[in-house]
Symmetry: C2
Subunit: 197 residues, 2 copies
DNA sequence: GTCTATACGAAGATAGAC
DNA sequence: GTCTATCTTCGTATAGAC
C-alpha cells in the first residue's frame, strides 16, 4: 500500500503545474497580446518547456480560453467582495481610491481584458462569455446603486452602464495618455455626479 | 519633350497604389489585428502582391504606422468639422445620433483604434502619437463645452475627459455586449446630464 | 507528466526578372 | 514599380525518450 501521501502530492503537483502555466500565460498574453505571444515564452516564464504546455492544454487557443475563464471568474468574485464590504457610498469610494481609483488601473489587467474583448469580437463563439462578463459588471453597479439611492430619475441599469463605461473609458485614456488623465479621475467623476463633493 | 501628361499620370498612379494599399491595410488590420494580419492578405485585398507592399513600405510596422498616422489625421479633421457645423447643443446631439449615437459605433473603426492603442502601449516610441490623439479628443470636447455652457462648477477639461471616456466606454460595451448596451446610450447619457431631456 | 528533437507550415523580407 | 521566386526565421504541433 505505497503512500497515500504520494498520490495526493502527485495530484497537487499536476495542479500546480497547471496553475503556474496559467499564471505565466496570463502575464505573457497581457504583455504581448494573443497574436505575438509564443508558447515558448509562456513555458519559459513558468519554468517549463513547451512539452508541459501541450501536456496540459490542447492548443494555444485552448490555453488562452482557460486563462480567460479563470480571469473572468476571479474578477466577478473579487468585485462581489468589494461591494459587500462597503456599506456606505463614502466607503465604496474610499475602497475604490485604493485600487487606485479604477479597477483597471493595473496595466496588465487592462491589457488582458482588452485582449479578451478583441478575441471575443473576432471569435463569435467566445463572444457570449464576454457579453456575460459585461452584463455582470452592469449588474454589480446596478446593485450598488440600488442599495444606496432611492427614487432615481432614471433606471438604475442605465446609470450602471454609464458608470461602467466611464470606468472603462477613463482607464483607457489614463493608460494611453497618463499625463492628461489620471486613473482616479473615475472616482472624482463619481463624487462629482453623486454630489459628494 | 515626351508627355507632361504622362509624368503626371505616373505620379498619380503611384499615389493611387499607395492609397489602395493603405485602405486595404486599414481594413485588414482592423479585422484581424496587427499580429494576425499578413502582408499577403493586405496586398491581395488591394489587388497587388507583396512586392507592391515592399515597394511602398519598409516593413509591416512601417505600413501599420502609416495607416495609424493617416487615420489619426483624418479623424481629427473630421471631428473639427462636426463641431464647427453644429451651432447648438441640440444640433450637436442630433448630428451625433446619425453616427449613430457614437463616433466609435463602426466596428472596424473601433477595432482599429483599439489596435492603435495596444500598439502604442507596447511600443513606447509610438505612445506620444496616441497620447496626442487623446489630448485632441479632450480639447475637442472642451471647446464644444465652453462654446455652449458658461459658469461651469468644474473645469471644462475635466468634463471633456469624462465625456470622451463615456463615449469610448459605451462603444466598448455596445460592441462586446450589443444586447445589453446600445451605442446611442452615449447620446442618451449626454442629454440626461445636460438636462436636455 | 515533462523534455528533447523534429516535422511542418506560415509569413516577413530580399533578389532578380520585366 | 510591380511581380515571381526564394531565402530564412519562427512558431505550432507532434513523436518519442525518460
Amino acid at each position: 500500500m505505497p503512500a497515500r501521501v504520494k498520490r495526493l502530492s502527485r495530484t497537487e503537483s499536476v495542479a500546480q503545474t497547471r496553475t503556474r502555466l496559467l499564471d505565466a500565460a496570463e502575464e505573457v498574453f497581457a504583455e504581448h497580446g494573443f497574436g505575438a505571444t509564443t508558447l515558448e515564452r509562456i513555458a519559459e516564464r513558468a519554468g517549463y518547456t513547451r512539452g508541459a504546455v501541450y501536456a496540459n492544454f490542447a492548443s494555444k487557443d485552448d490555453l488562452f480560453l482557460a486563462v480567460l475563464d479563470r480571469w473572468l471568474d476571479d474578477d466577478i468574485e473579487h468585485g462581489g467582495r468589494i461591494n459587500a464590504e462597503s456599506p456606505s457610498v463614502r466607503d465604496a469610494f474610499d475602497r475604490l481610491r485604493e485600487l487606485p481609483g479604477n479597477r483597471f488601473a493595473d496595466r496588465n489587467r487592462f491589457l488582458l481584458l482588452t485582449e479578451f474583448r478583441l478575441y471575443a469580437l473576432r471569435n463569435p463563439e467566445v463572444a457570449p462569455r464576454l457579453a456575460e462578463y459585461e452584463r455582470r459588471g452592469i449588474a454589480w453597479y446596478t446593485d450598488a446603486i440600488r442599495a444606496r439611492a432611492a427614487d432615481l430619475p432614471v433606471p438604475a441599469e442605465q446609470l450602471a452602464a454609464i458608470v461602467l463605461a466611464m470606468e472603462n473609458g477613463i482607464a483607457t485614456l489614463a493608460h494611453v495618455a497618463p499625463d492628461t488623465v489620471r486613473h482616479d479621475a473615475f472616482v472624482d467623476a463619481l463624487e462629482m455626479l453623486t454630489g459628494l463633493r
